[in-house]
């Protein structure tokens, strides 16, 4: 038998097969299903109930209220109440109301296990790959199928391997790696495929920082993403209460990749995605944004504890520039609490940061602090399409949380390295 990719092995296990071939369509059992308020009961509740079937396994189902929470419009209140009613009616044991952003909750509450498959009604479900699991996005209508059967049809995808070699230079994080790859590979560079991230630089990152790579794999149109499991992953899993009951998968040395990309990061500069595409990427030295009105540290992509630490390392003892507002929305309550306790969040607030709820907020174009018409801003989030964070006439730059913090201090898109020694 020819060598198998990790993705093939994970899908084979889930479909009860010895092996699966690239391009085959198979039915796979899912290990967990995620749904949130925005693509959840408000949309699929009636259709779900019309089938008259029970949820296949409530212990494997996570529902979050994170996209419209807390509400700023009556329509959002309605969505949240429908979400809560569904959780009550179905007696869901894992409903998280304002506790954090779904993908981060899935990881930190132990619903992501290496070698497993999880489906979620959100494009960034690929985040789970940092823990060696295949996270695959589905729509709310499709989630009815998963919820009633515990299975999903999957086309076995090809895998693209991306290796970052060399040591991470000062002032760079996972975000800079993923933006560099986006510049090269493009927004449709991995359609239907799996992105497998590795190499010395990737494995040197914290597990949370690795999530930035797998989280944003969806921006390449990838079906899923994977990173090999190591001691750091195991430590993260233990912290999340996952001791055993999982089996990590790795790609065989003789397995065929659809493509390979190798990068040497030794001289990497912080990278910036300029308006209005995530692959419109330049090194920070080449970016001249002019004055910015907003700097945003938030989302499942850019507000984990590792991101807050990066921001604090830049901004501690400094002040946000007059005319710029720094918004900070930690990705979960647990992260916010840890950041307070260890003294990471305090200095960001001291510098002038405005603390927002631990939910999706402006990254989904909802909540407080949306970009207004003509405004320019930078965010540690994942997308800079026109209209993503509010007005269709705003301009969004993307960078690491450290770059966002440096930009807030300078009042324009700025290089974090000048604040780090």
């Amino acid at each position: 038998m020819a060598g198998q990719t990790a993705a093939q092995k994970i899908i084979a296990r889930a479909s009860g097969r010895e092996s699966v071939g690239i391009g085959e369509i198979v039915w796979a059992k899912v290990d967990a299903q995620l749904m949130h308020d925005n693509q959840g009961p408000y949309r699929m509740g009636k259709d779900f109930k019309s089938l008259g079937l029970p949820i296949w396994d409530k212990n494997k189902f996570v529902l979050t209220a994170d996209h419209h929470n807390p509400p700023t419009k009556d329509a959002q209140t309605k969505v949240l109440n429908i979400t809560r009613d569904f959780a009550r009616e179905q007696e869901l044991p894992h409903f998280y109301d304002g506790e954090g952003i779904c993908h981060i909750l899935m990881a930190e509450r132990g619903f992501v296990r290496p070698g497993g498959i999880l489906t979620g009604t959100d494009s960034h479900t690929t985040n789970a790959g940092a823990l060696g699991a295949m996270g695959i996005a589905v729509g709310p209508t499709e989630s009815i199928g998963v919820l009633t059967t515990g299975e999903v049809w999957l086309r076995v995808p090809e895998t693209i391997r991306i290796d970052f070699n060399g040591k991470m230079p000062l002032g760079t994080w996972g975000k800079d790696l993923v933006l560099l790859a986006l510049k090269d590979i493009g927004l449709d560079g991995a359609d239907y495929q799996v992105l497998e991230w590795g190499g010395e630089a990737v494995m040197s990152l914290s597990v949370e920082d690795r999530m930035t790579l797998t989280n944003m794999s969806t921006e390449f149109a990838a079906k899923s993403a994977l990173i090999e499991v190591d001691e750091k992953t195991e430590a993260y899993l233990r912290e999340a209460g996952v001791e055993d009951g999982w089996e990590a998968q790795t790609t065989d040395p003789d397995a065929a990749y659809a493509a390979r990309h190798d990068y040497d990061v030794s001289n990497l500069s912080p990278q910036i995605a300029c308006p209005h595409r995530m692959d419109n990427v330049f090194p920070v030295e080449e970016v001249d944004s002019g004055p910015i009105q907003r700097a945003h540290i938030g989302s499942c992509t850019g507000a984990k504890l590792a991101d807050l630490r990066a921001a604090a390392s830049v901004i501690k003892g400094r002040k946000v520039a007059l005319g710029t507002q720094l918004l900070i929305a930690p990705a979960s309550k647990a992260i916010m609490n840890k950041a307070w306790e260890e003294g990471t969040l305090g200095p960001i607030i001291e510098a002038g940061g405005v603390l927002l709820p631990t939910t999706c907020g402006i990254c989904t174009g909802t909540g407080l602090g949306q970009f207004g018409p003509g405004e320019v801003g930078i965010s540690s989030a994942n997308r800079n399409y026109k209209g993503r964070m509010g007005s269709i006439d705003a301009s969004i730059y993307l960078g690491s949380a450290a770059t966002v913090a440096a930009s807030a201090v300078k009042g324009e898109v700025a290089d974090p390295r000048e604040f780090l020694t």
């Binding site: 329509a75 959100d122 209508t141 499709e142 449709d188 989904t364 399409y385 993503r388 269709i392």
Partner: protein
């Protein structure tokens, strides 16, 4: 709404990487009524595109149509506008799944996309897997049968109901 076997209509030609934020902007994310959704279709592409969608229009697009968010309204709004099918060089995978689950037909056919000009009359025959436009004929690979069954039923929920009804009938209506 089940997909018709044969249909034709004018091409509305779009480029590459048409993302869900321009197909259906996030600020309308709470709207699911078909009549309301279609009012905001392609709003992010401006009136030049949004104002030209008519029932029967066939969208013809480049690579990675539907990239970005998993929001289902991107497929729902297109269907609500009466578009019978989208022909593209490739589709973003979440959009592909959402469309199947809504009963919206997607056709992957790069050669046809290159040959079809904006506004041209396009005829599609699903059974033979052929597109006719501008004097040319282009073949496309059919979707697997089980996906066509979902599309023919009018989407995943309607398909599920058919299966449940069939099982009940097999058990003698109990």
């Amino acid at each position: 709404m089940a997909a018709a076997t044969n249909f034709s209509g004018p091409a509305l030609k779009l480029g590459d990487d048409i993302n869900t934020d321009v197909i259906y902007p996030g600020r309308y994310i709470l709207i699911y009524e078909p009549g309301e959704m279609k009012k905001h279709l392609f709003e992010g592409l401006g009136e030049a595109v949004a104002g030209r969608v008519r029932p029967g229009s066939i969208i013809v697009a480049g690579e990675d149509f539907g990239c970005g968010s998993s929001r289902e309204q991107a497929a729902g709004a297109i269907q609500a506008a009466g578009v019978p099918a989208i022909i593209a060089k490739s589709f973003a995978r979440i959009f592909f799944r959402n469309s199947v689950n809504h009963g919206l037909l997607l056709i992957t056919c790069p050669s046809a996309v290159d040959a079809i000009s904006d506004g041209a009359e396009v005829a599609v025959n699903i059974r033979s897997g052929e597109i006719s436009a501008g004097g040319g004929t282009f073949s496309f690979p059919p979707l697997p049968d089980f996906l066509m069954e979902i599309i023919d039923a009018g989407g995943l929920v309607a398909h599920g109901k058919k299966i449940i009804a069939a099982r009940k009938a097999a058990r003698g209506g109990k």
